[in-house]
Amino acid sequence: MDLILGNPAGLWALLGLPAVLAIHLLQHQVRTRYASTLFLLDELAMTGIRGSVIDRIRHSRPLWLQLLAVLLLTWLLIQPRWLREDSFQRVVVVLDSSLSMHAFLDRLWPGLGPHLRELSRTAALTEFILVESDPTAATLYAGPDLARLRDALAAWRPRLGHHDTIPALRMAQNLGGSGGIVLFLSDRLPEEPISGIAAIAIGERIENCGFAGLRVEGHGPEAEWQAVVRNYSEGAVRRAWWVEAEGGRNESRLLELGPGESRVLRGGFPPGADFVTVCLEPDAFPVDDRLPVVRPAPKRLEIEVAVDAAIRPLVQRLVGTLDAAEPAQAGLRPDLEFLSYRAPALPGLRANAVCFPRPLDDARVPLDGWVTTENHRLLQGLNWHGLLVDHAAPTVVQDRDEVLVRRGEKPLILLRTGESGRQLIFAFDPLASNAPQWPAFVLLVHRFAEELRAEKRAPTSVNVDLRQRLRAPVDPDGPPVMVRTIAHDGENEEEVPVARAALLRAPDRPAHFTVRQGNRDWLRGAARFADLREADFSRAASGGSVRERAREQARLNSRPDALTLLWMLLLVGLLLWSWWPAKGEAA
């Protein structure tokens, strides 16, 4: 049976040993005596004439009894307990998946190992479960072997930005069960204690300077990138920066930033190079020191305008505000068509379209009541209550139609989906309302157009955040998708079943990437770190302890020393015996 110290602080009582020794030494400290026979001492050829300040310890009964009493007292104070052989516990370690943990990867085991070893001594068998706060990640390790847990820890890399860790911690508590222990390893201590969770922080305030944002202006050869560099530290920093492209790099330049200062770096793409990486001199947090950028190439939206002359100026203005929009080629099916229709008849659904009614005459229906909206993705955050419209076209709502906006019982805007596409149908004349000046009207048309653009199968290049969901326009009936990641530390290619292509995410570290199906790159991108909260280490700290929890766990998994009463009596006996005068002393 293993011994557990119920109160390790009781070991301080061992200081009584030197104290007793000191007392027995000091009581014979130098005393001054007059002597009449010093010449006799001089005649003795002895060594060690000069004595030390402290006397040599002398054997005596009180000395040994008091030393024994101190040992016994220590034994009682540490509250020895004996570990039950059938005791079992489960320790669940939740790693903070925040990217800021990248700065402290070398501290994971030094910060966690001692706590785990301490906990492993509080039960005969301990099962360790290593998970991370990313709820989608698999369990990193489960078992009793700390060495294997250490290996798993060494291979782990955080992947998420700022995220809520509570769900993962609650899941860990469920994993641990009623007697389990949950440790949360992060680079900062939680602002408030989390019930049932032992938080351990391994971070510290470090000086960090990195990229905080990216903007690319223009397309094609005129494209220019603008990168925001921010100094998160409290002191000024000087960093070299440069741009890498096509395997080469330009000459590095020096960047000086004051405390908390941000600065914008600008540059273009070298001719023929679509991928560049803006680099900062590395610091303790390397994730934001490289900014991959791709020359953006949005999907072109081919638009055909076939509306009445009265509403054409309004439609032309709308089309002009769409990004990467161009007139459809004659004879080819457009990506989006703007149409006019005469109510109540609707145009045929031959393509994706935005439909406006021709001026309403006698067929118009007076409107009454409040403007209400559906809870629909196209309407999220849009306000229609100020829309001033008095009459609507008589429309026939079909089963598959989605009425987005209505006034009273009359539909004002419908979304019709068919085999050939979707139609955004306005049942009122915009020109007879304040719709052209109403932001929700313009935004709705934009959202509809962008939704169509996203669904269009065409190659595109985008700059995204790390782990951002990708919308790769791959052929659902085509071959598997190959995702190639090009980071500064190497390239990686992964085959993804086409059925899972919709779940693709950008790389979890700064990198360029391509999504290829067959022999065509459908998506080319650059993933960048963009979480300012993770780059700010002002709250990073170290601390946390499992000592209390370990003590409690040890108490649960052990039984007390059955001879405590005997030891107490023996202690009293020893003290009395040591204080009892010897025969000569009594006399």
Partner: protein, 293 residues
């Protein structure tokens, strides 16, 4: 320096006046030279102690002719009696600081001093008191001794050295009574020769404190020589203490051996206990004192 403890000298003197009723200095153990007195001299005298007969020689005192023998034999025969003289006593007190290492030891020394004074006075001896102090000496006038005004001031620190007996004018044929603890380095031989020179006879009283033989030193002690003031830090383990005791005994064994060689009674008198008992216990066997009977 250790000051001499204040003692009630008149009281001590009074007690010693009674003590000499029990024992006395060894006046009776030999013949003396000196003025007429109560003690047998080495020559012929008018005492009642018969010594010898011899034929009359011209010039003999006719008072000592044995007329009864002349009547029987017709020959002048001289009846010789022992001379009765008053012995001379040279009393020397060693007043070095070691004699006052403890109040008891100093009291014992003073008791021996007054014992000797009273013993000499009662014997009618010609008493001369001297006192050695460090390397100096002085004669103590008898009036000062009897008036109890003789205790010296503590001397300045001096080297530990033998008392300057060679500088004290010891009288011819006197009884030299020396009171000293004998705690000084050096060979005792010259001192014995001085004490027994000039046909004198000596008696040594060596008061000692038991703590000198078995000092309570243990562990680290800082020892201060009571005479020189020299300090010495010394760790005293049990084995060193044992060797010290051995050296202490050897020191006095040497004195005892030489005392026997020079036929000088040497009595070591403990500072503890009653003086009379100590004199009986130590002085009588050593013949440093004698009883009246």
């Amino acid at each position: 320096m250790i000051p001499f403890p204040d003692l009630d000298l008149p009281a001590i003197h009074a007690r010693m006046r009674g003590a000499v009723e029990a024992v006395r200095l060894p006046f009776g153990s030999r013949s003396w030279r000196g003025q007429t007195g109560n003690w047998l001299g080495v020559g012929l005298g008018a005492s009642i102690d018969f010594q010898d007969h011899r034929p009359y020689l011209p010039g003999d005192d006719p008072r000592y002719i044995n007329w009864l023998a002349y009547a029987r034999t017709g020959q002048f025969t001289m009846k010789l009696y022992r001379e009765e003289v008053s012995p001379s006593v040279d009393l020397v007190l060693d007043a070095s600081a070691s004699m006052a290492i403890s109040p008891a030891k100093w009291m014992r020394a003073v008791e021996l001093f007054y014992f000797s004074v009273e013993s000499a006075l009662q014997a009618g001896a010609s008493l001369r008191c001297s006192l050695t102090l460090g390397g100096d000496w002085m004669i103590l006038p008898l009036a000062a001794v009897l008036g109890h005004r003789w205790v010296p001031d503590p001397a300045a620190p001096t080297l530990t050295e033998p008392p300057p007996l060679e500088r004290i004018p010891l009288r011819h044929g006197s009884l030299r009574v020396w009171i000293s603890d004998l705690l000084f380095p050096g060979a005792p031989d010259p001192l014995f020769r001085l004490l027994t020179g000039k046909q004198g006879r000596a008696a040594l009283f060596a008061p000692f404190a038991p703590a000198e033989e078995a000092p309570p030193w243990s562990g680290n002690v800082e020892l201060i020589d009571c005479e020189s003031g020299h300090r010495r830090r010394q760790r005293v383990p049990p084995d060193l203490l044992e060797r010290y005791r051995l050296a202490y005994r050897r020191h006095f064994d040497l004195w005892q051996d030489l005392a026997r060689k020079y036929d000088v009674p040497l009595a070591r008198i403990s500072a503890e206990g009653d003086l009379i008992r100590c004199l009986y216990r130590e002085g009588l066997p050593a013949r440093a004192v004698e009883t009246w009977t």
